[in-house]
Amino acid sequence: MAAAAVAEAPRSRAVAQPPEGPDDLLLVERVRAGDTEAFGTLARRYSRRALSVAYRVLEHPEDAEDLVQDAFMVALEKIDTFRADRAFAPWFFRILINRALNARKARWVRRTSEIPADAPAGGGTPEREAERAELRERVAAALAVMAEPRRTIVKLYELEGFSGPEIAEILDLATGTVRWHLFHARSALREALGSYAP
């Protein structure tokens, strides 16, 4: 199923791909008519990516799960305000990311897990592990000094595979503004990564 592939393949372009099964808009119509199962289908379609995005912002697994649940409930509460001439995914991720950024800003997060320098990264030689640890430190330092929404934009673009227009819709920004932030974020990251990045 495409929805599962979306979540399992991080680089896939989920928002642009038509999912298998009932169309999002059809599911939304069924939800509006009171079909709980249709909402379950929507939730399963986007939950993996939602958790990934939430985790990217909050950097805490339990808080990310709570946030995903809350975002789905807010989406359900507001489903009548969703405009059928727009795509469902950017509308939903806008809810999710706004809540994530607010939660992060309000220090709602119980504890922010800094990326540990010794975090396992998939095995390898001790030299490779040491290299990765240094890499994580550099990325964390570069992102730490990066203001919002730039930090979120670069994560959504590079790691979650959203396009510039999708990010613009999610964050309620102009597409040009998103691309401007993306350009500067990439430059900062490349500078920080030095010899690690191309």
């Binding site: 909402f39 939730a43 939950s47 990934s52 985790y55 649940q69 790691l159 993306l182 990439r186 490349r190």
Partner: protein, 135 residues
Amino acid sequence: MKLPDLSGDPPRDPLLERTLRDALPGAPADTDWDRLHHAVDARAAAVMARRGRRWWEYAAAWSAAAIPAAAAAGLVLFALLAGARAQADEAARMTPAPLMEQTLALDIADADRSLVNDDGGDWLLQDALPAPEGR
């Protein structure tokens, strides 16, 4: 510094992406998806039950309390109206008696003077009514 091209998305950079992915861990792989989905389903069912109710369903839900309350209010209103009507009848019944007593107690001359007195100046009435004896 090179200016960004804002007319389109920059080309994907697989090396930068891989480097970032290597450095920034994603969501934990051991997420219990069944638990998460069941939690979403349960909360969604509650929200749907709340938003799915129409006005007549709310009316039906409230009718158990609303009907007795309306009946009680009706009885109270009826009692108040009945009481007010009884008071009005009593007032109407009691009002003429003092007037009658006062009228009967009046001396005819006093009654006459009450219409035409000496300094009233109403000659037509004085001519029309016979002068009381002794005046």
